[in-house]
């Protein structure tokens, strides 16, 4: 026991307001040089457990029972002074969102060396040197200069690496990483994961690694603890858990993570209907240019979409793939009429659609429905589910009274929710349920074209998979044409017949899913494909190797694009550095 860096015994954390404990009697220990992953869906108590290791509880929570010992110190009962001296020095924390965790108005160097400063462990000069050394090891460009920037002046992936540097600055015994990569794009995730793995290895640091993504965890963890509803349901070495999960939930988790990898023999291609070539597509996007600012000669001052064309047939699912800043959400809005294009046309059934939703007919508006990424913001939190769906019915179909109630129940059934959910508020639903309501609302209009904008990205793996299945079945049952926008190749590979890859507002590759994913032509598509996490040993190293191989081709491509797409490439431009 005493040799453990961290030892948590029978920890019970509960909300002050009463209710089910958030952490319910968990005991774990982390040995020197070991990486323990805590895996679970949101609400499983994994973050609370990780923060307890630092002797920290979020407001509104209290410890009901248990002990947390860090290197022999009881963290839950330590004096504030003691805690302060340990935090940052003996135990360091890496937060999920680096963008929120860095003070926006302090320079990065100052924030990273602040750890040394408050612990008076070394002189300012030494601290700076240590930090710059770390930057170099973490592959940050221009290690001696980049730290004088402010957080907003570096890219998200770089910021996350700065956070790792901050965690490693004082070479702590234990590094607590709270979903350090889940807010990142897949290609960035590869870089950060590698940096983190490197950092841990260099210092022989022990780590507590919190994640919902088994594939990510599998690359870095030596042991895995599976949490569900505040309890630890399975514990073992990474290999044991991945290869022979015992608990049913763990099995489901492992299975989902396997589904979520690219399989060249996916269902997608085979179910494609054979449309007659003479028939006009249901929806056609032709040479669309869109952006922000004043439009001169059909090009806006900031271009986010450039020369985009796309066809969608009835019953077909077309995927649009791209990372943040690729313009994929803008495309969704252009089609939905929320963001009029500067140039180019959109046709539905051969009829040209007006650019702005105000100028479209009611029927045109009804036939195209957009499902937003985050159900939290897309559903009005103050309206009940019944009201949300009912309004659409009333608006488009004039349905009211008991007919409306019946139809609401039908819609809920369609998205596999019980009819009594009509009386609930969105805040009373889980993330997956909310996304189902979000879908149901679109379906209530009885659309012909459904645009799904990143509808699974905010969801846990298992839930995401079930939503994908739902979309797939809806497409079949209702014969909808679906444009499925995602950053996640794995999701798409299981669903779409056609795929279009966007980068910096341009189409870099498109074609049938099978063709594009199994034999990508464009280096960027290749990078994307290789970056999709896989729950097998050695994937990370392969991905890094692919990345390094493609780097050159990508950078050439990038700089030429950055000129054209002005502004979007800002964050990336810095990688090449001054």
């Amino acid at each position: 026991m005493t040799s453990s860096v961290l030892n948590i015994q029978d920890l019970v954390v509960e909300p002050m307001a009463g209710g089910r404990p958030v952490v319910d009697g968990i005991s774990i220990s982390v040995e020197r040089g070991e990486v323990l992953a805590l895996i679970g869906a949101s609400g499983s108590g994994k973050t609370t457990l990780a923060l307890a290791a630092l002797g920290h509880l979020r407001p509104g929570l209290r410890v009901q029972n248990g002990s947390v010992t860090l290197d022999g110190t009881e963290m839950l009962r330590a004096a504030p002074r003691m805690l302060r001296s340990l935090r940052g020095r003996a135990i360091a924390y890496i937060a999920q969102s680096a963008a929120a965790a860095f003070n926006p108005r302090m320079r990065l160097d100052a924030q990273i060396t602040e750890v040394s400063r408050v612990h008076r462990s070394r002189s300012h000069k030494e601290a700076i040197q240590t930090a710059h050394r770390l930057y170099g090891r973490l592959d940050l460009p221009n290690p001696d200069l980049v730290g004088s920037r402010f957080p907003h002046q570096v890219s998200g992936g770089q910021l996350q690496r700065f956070m790792i540097a901050m965690g490693l600055q004082e070479s702590p015994l234990l590094l607590v990483c709270d979903e350090p990569t889940s807010a990142l794009d897949v290609t960035t995730q590869v870089e950060v994961l590698r940096a983190l793995k490197q950092g841990i290895a260099d210092n022989n640091t022990a780590a507590l690694f919190v994640s919902h993504d088994l594939a990510v965890v599998s690359q870095i963890a030596t042991k895995i603890a599976v949490l569900r509803s505040g309890r630890m349901i399975e514990f073992g070495t990474a290999r044991d858990i991945l290869e022979s999960p015992k608990d049913a939930y763990t099995k489901e988790l492992v299975a989902a993570s396997k589904h979520m990898t690219i399989s060249p023999t996916s269902r997608g291609g085979s179910v494609a209907p054979a449309p007659g070539p003479e028939k006009a597509p249901l929806l056609a996007v032709q040479k669309v240019v869109a952006g922000f600012g004043k439009v001169t000669d059909g090009s806006p001052s900031v271009t986010t979409l450039n020369d985009i064309s796309l066809n969608l047939r009835k019953g077909e699912i077309v995927a649009v793939i791209g990372e943040s800043g690729s313009g994929k959400s803008t495309l969704a809005r252009v089609i939905a009429g929320l963001h009029p294009a500067a140039r180019g046309e959109i046709y539905m059934d051969g009829k040209r659609l007006a650019g702005s939703v105000e100028n479209r007919t009611v029927s045109e508006r009804r036939r195209i429905q957009l499902v937003f990424q985050s159900a939290d913001t897309a559903l009005n939190q103050k309206h009940s589910v019944g009201r949300i769906l009912g309004r659409v019915l009333k608006f488009f179909h004039g349905t009211s009274g008991s007919a409306r109630e019946t139809r609401v129940a039908e819609l809920l059934k369609m998205v596999q929710l019980p009819p009594e959910y009509a009386n609930r508020l969105p805040s009373q639903l889980s993330g997956g349920e909310k996304q189902r309501v979000n879908l149901a609302r679109a379906l209530a209009a009885e659309p012909e074209v459904l645009i799904c904008d990143e509808i699974t990205s905010a969801l846990d793996t298992i839930v995401a998979e079930s939503i994908i299945r739902l979309v797939e079945s809806l497409s079949k049952e209702l014969g909808l044409g679906i444009i499925f926008i995602s950053h996640d190749l794995a999701t798409v590979s299981a669903l779409a017949q056609e795929v279009t890859v966007l980068r910096h507002g341009r189409i870099v590759e498109s074609g049938s899913t099978q063709a594009v994913l199994s034999a990508p032509q464009n280096p960027y598509t290749q990078l994307l494909v290789s970056s999709v996490p896989q729950a097998r040993p050695g994937w990370l190293e392969e991905a890094v190797a692919t990345r390094n191989r493609l780097r050159h081709a990508l950078e050439a491509d990038r700089s030429s694009q950055a000129l054209a797409s002005d502004g979007v490439g800002n964050a990336l431009a810095i990688t090449t550095g001054p």
């Binding site: 924390y93 937060a95 969102s97 602040e114 408050v118």
Partner: protein
């Protein structure tokens, strides 16, 4: 940065122009013109006509406004209608008095309020914070005429320590001036400190719920550094704004304190001038008040800009 300031200055000029037109129309609408009001009880039709002629009020309104505007653009504030002295002369002493009161109050109240607000935010939720919050809230909710009157009653009438009226006689020395200013400054300091401290606490306490503060805690940064450095640099913008609003209030809104302490300041002059329908003086006061407000807000915005690395200003400075 420069274009930002230029744009704001332009906006300010338009705003001031709008105010001057508004004031002019307002004075035209007011019942009774300067001649009637000046003669008051003694106004007869003959008198009024004669005085109007004497004051040049027989000219049409737009003509009078334009000639005033031309004057202003040449730096001439015009002449008071009632006293026939240049407005600039009339303003000078009042402006000095008002400025002195505002300055002294600001110098005392702002640091006091910021420190108090920070201390309350550090101890947010503790007994000290709760009791201080209630005291501060109580003071900010107490009408200033009560604070002022009680202060006079206690310090001037009962204890005889300080003068009851803030009469600054010409050539009075420092200690005399300090004694005269003490009670009005005290009253205003109480009012202003309570306001700023309350807002400071709210702003800082809100910042303390930010993730970067949790991160700092988990880095082992002590509370005072979190509040004094991490939170404070993020609070510069809103704090500057609040301080600016309070300073603008000190210049233009202290009618009540001027009344209680018989302090000859600008606000009193403006009311006086409104009552006498002395348009050039009203205009001058209105413009000074409005300009103070706008300039204060502008300074606060520039300060916020300078402290915000995301703004262009910071980028521009970096380039230099």
């Amino acid at each position: 940065m420069l274009s930002f300031i230029l744009k704001r200055v332009l906006q300010t000029i338009v705003l001031l122009l709008a105010v001057s037109i508004l004031v002019f129309i307002g004075c035209e609408i007011l019942p009774g013109d300067v001649a009637q009001v000046a003669l008051g009880q003694f106004a007869t039709e003959d008198n009024v006509r004669a005085l109007r002629l004497e004051l040049g009020l027989d000219r049409p309104a737009y003509e009078r406004y334009l000639s005033w505007l031309v004057g202003i653009l040449q730096g001439d504030w015009g002449q008071s209608i009632t006293t026939k002295t240049p407005v600039a002369t009339m303003l000078s002493e009042r402006l000095w008095n008002t400025g002195l009161l505002a300055l002294v109050t600001t110098v005392v109240a702002v640091p006091l309020a910021l420190v108090l607000g920070l201390l309350m935010a550090v101890g947010a939720g503790r007994t000290w914070d709760r009791s201080a919050s209630i005291v501060v809230l109580g003071l900010s909710a107490t009408p200033e005429f009560l604070i002022g009157s009680l202060a006079v009653l206690l310090f001037a009438v009962q204890l005889r320590w300080l003068p009851a009226v803030a009469y600054l006689s010409p050539g009075s020395g420092f200690s005399q001036t300090a004694r005269a200013l003490f009670l009005p400054v005290l009253t205003l300091v109480i009012v202003v400190t309570a306001q700023i401290a309350r807002m400071t606490r709210a702003i800082i306490a809100n910042l303390l719920t930010q993730p970067f503060v949790e991160m700092a805690v988990l880095k082992g940064v002590p509370s005072r550094r979190i509040v004094g450095v991490h939170a404070l640099i993020n609070a510069v913008g809103p704090l500057a704004n609040i301080v600016a609003l309070n300073i603008a209030y000190l210049v233009s809104g202290v009618v009540v304190v001027e009344t209680i302490f018989a302090y000859p300041g600008l606000a009193g002059l403006m009311i006086n001038a409104v009552q006498a329908r002395d348009l050039p003086v009203v205009q001058a006061c209105a413009l000074i008040f409005c300009a103070t407000y706008v300039i204060m807000i502008l300074v606060a915005d520039i300060l916020a800009h300078l402290y915000d690395p995301r703004s262009n200003a910071q980028a521009a400075m970096e380039k230099l």
